[in-house]
Amino acid sequence: MLGTGLLKGLGVTAKNFVGSYHDPERYTTIEYPEVKPKLPEAYRNFPFLVTENAMDPMGTLRCVACQICEKECPPQCIYIEKSKDKKPDASGKMQIYPAIFDIDTSVCMSCQICVEVCPFDAIKMDQVFEIATTDRYDALLLRREQLAKPNSYYQSIHPTEAAEVDGRLAADRKAAEEKAKAAAAAKAAAAKAAAAAPAAEAPKTPPPAA
């Protein structure tokens, strides 16, 4: 009958009206400042620097100031200065660390290339979006101290990815330890061999270093 289409349309809107009160599938609005949105895991916005220890962020930066990210950054928003001295890293090895590590977030385009190229898993993508400031220059230029965030934070925002990175790092560390152990063993064996045949060949060939 003529006009049933109109009634059907009225039914649709009525269903929406009633449904918005009890059906979260329909009512998708989040009242933002009070209720924070639940971001999808793959969401990324601006890089940050991973530290091993939340208590001592500057001392345990994974970054070794290799400057690959600085060179690869398409908008060139990263500025790094190497340190003069060396500090032990997480595995106790002496490493150079970044004396200055700045990211200009007003230039950064969140392309994730710095993350892709970093061989040390030291820089990762963040999930911040409340970055409005009243200052165009200094407040948007993030320093080393502001960029450093602990690994646990990384675990919380990108759990899958972080688990994979941690696994790889642990494997690397284990391999390095085994290698070091093997090297130590080889060294010891070589030393023993050298002790066994002291006088004859000692001055000619030194034992292999590694």
Binding site: L2, L6, F17
Partner: protein, 400 residues
């Protein structure tokens, strides 16, 4: 006369008693004047408040239909939103185009609002609550309503903007087109009631069929058809979606309101809502039994509560329609009025004449009377509708 009835009576008479408390001490010659001013003040205050909260309700309901919360930041549930809007409109700059006719540009919103408010004078809000008792009340209502078209023209012409002027012409074409079905649809009520007085029309709808079915006009075949036509034309007369072409803000900027800003624009907005309220109130009076209770045992609730309930229901219906249907094109709009509503309204006059002439039929003839009247309503509706929508069919969009 038991206590409950007395309590009812006092509630029923409460407005009159309040009025007498305020004006009773005045000397007799002045009392009618102060009474009138009081009635005007009460109508303005209550409908002003209704307007404010109707805008909020509309935005809330529209929001919910579109699965979002609507305004909820100003006060609890956004209850202060209308006042925030009012302050915003008041403090905005009032821009008048350089070439505009300053006097008419100013006069247009004022005249529109004045005519819209004038229509409230004859609405019977309750058993004894009507500002002016006129013998030709219904005629007065539609005369004041017809004068609003003049204000629309003034707004369009005084803006000195060709788009405003064209929009005013388009708005007038629509308003005049829909004036006809609007007027034709209430003529049957006048035929049956034999009076143009609003109170008299309400009184004619009192009484109960079989002891519990109200004898409202809408519950008869001709009354239902008249009500449907009246409400459709009222939608168009008050520039409401889907007939909001005069002020199609998303497509035509704002029609004749393009050059209006600040409080003048707010006045237009206010007049639109007042017109809507007045037309809904008139529909309640003409077809829905006015201030009468829908069931006999509900008569203890004061009459003005019933009037308000019915009017608010119709207003919510307007909002519901607005959030459902897309806007019509201007040619579809006028075709709908002239080829569909006007013929149906004219046929409805015949149906009413039949109904009036056969009022003496009883028994089996009574059933025949109902069947014939229903057929007289449904068959033309189907035939004209089918003829008009022939070839329109379900559309296929080839490139979309």
């Amino acid at each position: 006369m038991n206590a409950a009835f007395l309590a009812t009576l006092s509630l029923e008479l409460l407005p009159a008693q309040l009025r007498d408390m305020v004006t009773g001490w005045l000397p007799e010659p002045w009392r009618w004047l102060v009474n009138s001013i009081l009635a005007i003040a009460v109508i303005l205050a209550s409908f002003g408040l209704l307007f404010a909260y109707l805008t909020l309700a509309e935005r809330k309901i529209l929001g919910r239909v579109q699965n979002r919360p609507g305004p909820n930041r100003t006060g609890y549930f956004g209850l202060l939103q209308p006042f925030a809007d009012g302050v915003k409109a008041l403090t905005k700059e009032d821009i008048v185009p350089r070439g505009a006719d300053h006097l008419l540009h100013f006069l247009a919103p004022v005249a529109l609002l004045a005519f819209s408010i004038m229509t409230f004078a004859v609405l019977p809000f309750g058993r004894n609550l009507v500002a002016v008792e006129l013998d030709a009340g219904v005629l007065y209502f539609f005369a004041a309503g017809a004068a609003t078209e003049l204000a629309v023209f003034m707004a369009g012409w005084a803006s000195h903007n060709k788009y405003s002027l064209l929009a005013a012409m388009r708005a007038l074409a629509q308003l005049i087109s829909y004036e006809l079905p609007l007027l034709l649809s209430f003529v049957p009520v006048i035929m049956i009631a034999g009076s143009l007085s609003t109170q008299e029309i309400v009184h004619r709808q009192s009484g109960w069929m079989f002891g519990f079915v109200p004898q409202w006009h809408v519950l008869t075949p001709w009354g239902f058809a008249g009500f449907a036509i009246f409400m459709t034309a009222a939608l168009a007369e008050s520039n409401r979606s889907p007939f909001d072409l005069p002020e199609a803000e998303s497509e035509l900027i704002a029609g004749h309101l393009t050059e209006y800003s600040g409080f003048k624009y707010a006045l237009f907005f206010m007049a639109e809502y007042f017109g809507m309220c007045a037309l809904c109130g008139m529909a309640v009076t003409l077809f829905l039994g006015g201030w009468q209770a829908p069931l006999p045992f509900l008569e203890f609730i004061p009459s003005y509560v019933w009037f308000a309930t019915k009017m608010l229901t119709l207003l919510l219906g307007f909002i519901w329609v607005r959030c459902t249907f897309p806007r019509l094109r201007i040619d579809q709009l006028t075709r709908f009025a002239w080829k569909f509503l006007v013929p149906l309204a004219l046929i409805n006059l015949g149906t009413t004449a039949f109904w009036s002439l056969t009022s003496g039929w009883t028994g089996g003839l009574q059933i025949a009377r109902w069947l014939v009247a229903i057929a007289l309503v449904v068959i033309p509706f189907q035939l004209i509708g089918r003829k008009l929508s022939a070839g329109l069919g379900p559309r296929t969009y080839r490139y979309a």
